[in-house]
Subunit: 200 residues, 2 copies
Amino acid sequence: MDKAEKYDKPDKCAEKREAIIQAALELVAEQGFHGAPMAMIAEKAGVGAGTIYRYFENKDDLIRWIYKNVEERFVEVMMQGYPEHGPVRERLVHIGTALVRHLINEPLQLRFVEQFHNSPYGVDHRREKIFGQQKKDIISELFDEAVAQQIFKPLELAILFSLFFGPLVDICRDHILGFIKLDDALIEQVVGACWDALRR
Amino acid sequence: MDKAEKYDKPDKCAEKREAIIQAALELVAEQGFHGAPMAMIAEKAGVGAGTIYRYFENKDDLIRWIYKNVEERFVEVMMQGYPEHGPVRERLVHIGTALVRHLINEPLQLRFVEQFHNSPYGVDHRREKIFGQQKKDIISELFDEAVAQQIFKPLELAILFSLFFGPLVDICRDHILGFIKLDDALIEQVVGACWDALRR
DNA sequence: TATAAAGGAATGAACGGTCATTCCGCGAAA
DNA sequence: TTTCGCGGAATGACCGTTCATTCCTTTATA
């Protein structure tokens, strides 16, 4: 039964890979990088320790791959139903609300990203994000536009991002850890408060 | 010369202890906990590896002791010149400005605290801070008062703290890492923005 | 179809390196 | 001479990574 189930699936490789990713995501999110040795990831994923190295070059590679995917998911979520032609406030509230809703539904993703940001990778990543800026993304464009239209305070993008996203992420973490209890009304209030910080 | 200097001081023990603390603070701040092994702390402090254990029970003890002291320094700085009887806005601006000025003058302390917060200690510490709350501190009292007077939005303390302190700390980090350049005028604008987030 | 060999995926014990902590000999102070 | 702080090699635990071996699937053969 076990064996039949195991081998009649055509994509067992992809499944193993997924199991490794999920195990690593959970362990890093819940215990930090210290608490996620490769042997433990392997055990949790139900594979041998060496197997991980068939799918990922090394631990760094695994961690970066997960981060990249999680971050992409964040952007996707914020862009889903994005009111591209609405007023600035509506667009910003959409982004903030979508992000918060997603983060509290996927606590592991939030915790993982936080662990990543506070690690040797983190600084390099932020530097690249602030200075690299080869192709402006939609969110940066929205902020630039709002500054140009004198809707936002005339501050650098990095500062505006901190004012808006910083508290939202902090508050999601507090919700996940059980320190506060977010509901729809409260999310709206908090996003509104972050908007107030940006508004001229 | 070295020896003479070393032993004619009456408080050489306290000096050694200070050297250990300073070395640990610097290494953790600059490299994270991974990059601050006890042997390296000892070398940087100019003492033997075993000597650290004459002053601190173990690494945890050392780290917690440093954290406690750094945090106390933060509170001291915010309370220095605190306009106790001024209007709420003035008091809040004082706190925010004093904190930012101190953080950018003492980048190691900021980086150390951030490392601490993102570690197994961090969550427990925050939980204790939010729920423990045996004796209200002056800052909490200020926020409570502002909510009661309907100057602030009617939100929980944890949320108001995130709205105010979250961005300030983020921005100081960006300054330290060279991503932005804070000056007095900019600090005032940013603190003002955080105030706007709280204001009803 | 039945059997056997080949090929590649998976395994987990073993390796080299690092870490926190211990412990014992040394040398300064009394 | 005795005492005691100190140093740093030694210890044992742990971690990322490797690799010889095993196991499963596919292909070749009769």
